[in-house]
């Protein structure tokens, strides 16, 4: 577990599940495992895992080989590639969702720390809207 006072900048890799309650900037690559972002978790990173569950805040691209679940307290801004995506009532999501098996297969190469958040070929489709100044 990454506790709520912990800040990590860089690459998080491993061969087990992880729960993030702190702040992570960079890349999270836990292929075959589960990444959980707790309610106090604040992640600015691209995430790759088997299952990704989000109760906190994520800014970045997300690739899951099984599923992504955004709970009622989750707030995600980025692109999701996964065979299945579930949103609970109250979940906030901005971006694109790709549930095409071909896309999933092409994205299964591991991320590296050379790639900053939002580095996927598909750019974010909805950067912060600020049209009110018109």
């Amino acid at each position: 577990m990454i506790g709520s006072s912990i800040i990590i900048k860089g690459e998080v890799t491993g061969d087990e599940d992880i729960l993030i309650e702190g702040r992570v900037e960079g890349v999270i690559n836990l292929n075959g495992n589960q990444v959980s972002i707790g309610e106090s978790g604040d992640v600015s990173a691209d995430i790759q895992a088997n299952v990704i569950k989000i109760d906190g805040t994520v800014t970045g691209d997300i690739c899951a080989s099984e599923k992504v679940v955004i709970s009622k307290s989750g707030n995600v801004s980025g692109n999701i590639v996964a065979p299945r995506v579930m949103l609970e009532d109250g979940a906030i999501f901005k971006g694109s969702i790709d549930m095409d098996p071909a896309s999933i297969a092409s994205k299964e190469a591991p991320l590296t720390s050379q790639q900053p958040a939002n580095s996927a070929a598909t750019p974010m489709t909805s950067p912060g809207l600020d049209l009110k100044s018109v």
């Binding site: 009622k72 299945r84 995506v85 579930m86 949103l87 609970e88 009532d89 109250g90 979940a91 906030i92 999501f93 901005k94 971006g95 694109s96 969702i97 790709d98 549930m99 095409d100 098996p101 071909a102 896309s103 070929a121 598909t122 750019p123 974010m124 489709t125 909805s126 950067p127 809207l129 600020d130 049209l131 009110k132 100044s133 018109v134």
Partner: protein, 192 residues
């Protein structure tokens, strides 16, 4: 978030009638991603692009601000260059945009349409139709979902059906259905 309610739709199935089983469908969805909409599309091979223009309302365009709005919409409507939408879900967005803004929006969207793109929208039967302030989604192939918004979006100023037909320069009206509350449900076909 408010609980969702159901509303049958005669036009919704037409959006998907040309989609073969296993075929990839690319969707442009105006408004926040709702759980039931994402769940519905999980039955398809799909790419969904959610752009919540309602959160940016009011968006008012006039002669002096057209260039700036074009620039801002181009940033918001940034998709991979090969993206071509099979389905556009506008919901009731056009009831909140003036003529110039609709023109700028569709010009920005046009490169991502194709000859057989279809779209769904709501408009009004007459200009006195009351504002209903709903968030829309898809529950089943012939059932829409709607939720009451916590606050009504600003700038409600619907267009007559004839005016809207002229403003939607990328689309032709294929069918319309009069709903019980004097709204119109529209099925549009791309005309490029």
């Amino acid at each position: 978030m408010q609980k969702s309610s159901r509303q049958p739709s005669k036009l919704l199935p037409s959006l998907f009638k040309h989609i073969d089983e296993g075929e990839l469908i690319t969707v442009f969805h105006v408004g926040p991603a709702l759980p039931e909409t994402v769940d519905f599309f999980s039955n398809y091979r799909c790419k969904l692009h959610f752009v919540d223009l309602f959160s940016a309302l009011p968006i008012v365009c006039n002669e002096d601000t057209t260039a700036l709005l074009e620039q801002q919409l181009a940033q918001v409507l940034t998709f991979p260059s090969d993206t071509r939408f099979d389905v556009c879900l506008f919901w009731d967005l056009f009831n909140y945009l003036n003529s110039d803004t609709i023109g700028v929006l569709l010009t920005a969207l046009r490169p991502h349409l194709k000859d057989n793109s279809l779209a769904h929208a709501f408009s009004v039967h007459n200009l006195k139709t009351r504002h209903n302030s709903h968030l829309y989604g898809i529950q089943q192939l012939d059932v829409l979902s709607f939720r009451h918004r916590l606050a009504a979006p600003p700038g409600y100023a619907p267009h007559s059906q004839n005016t809207l037909k002229q403003l939607l320069h990328c689309f032709k009206l294929e069918r319309s259905v009069l709903l019980a509350d004097s709204r119109l449900e529209l099925l549009l076909h791309a005309s490029l």
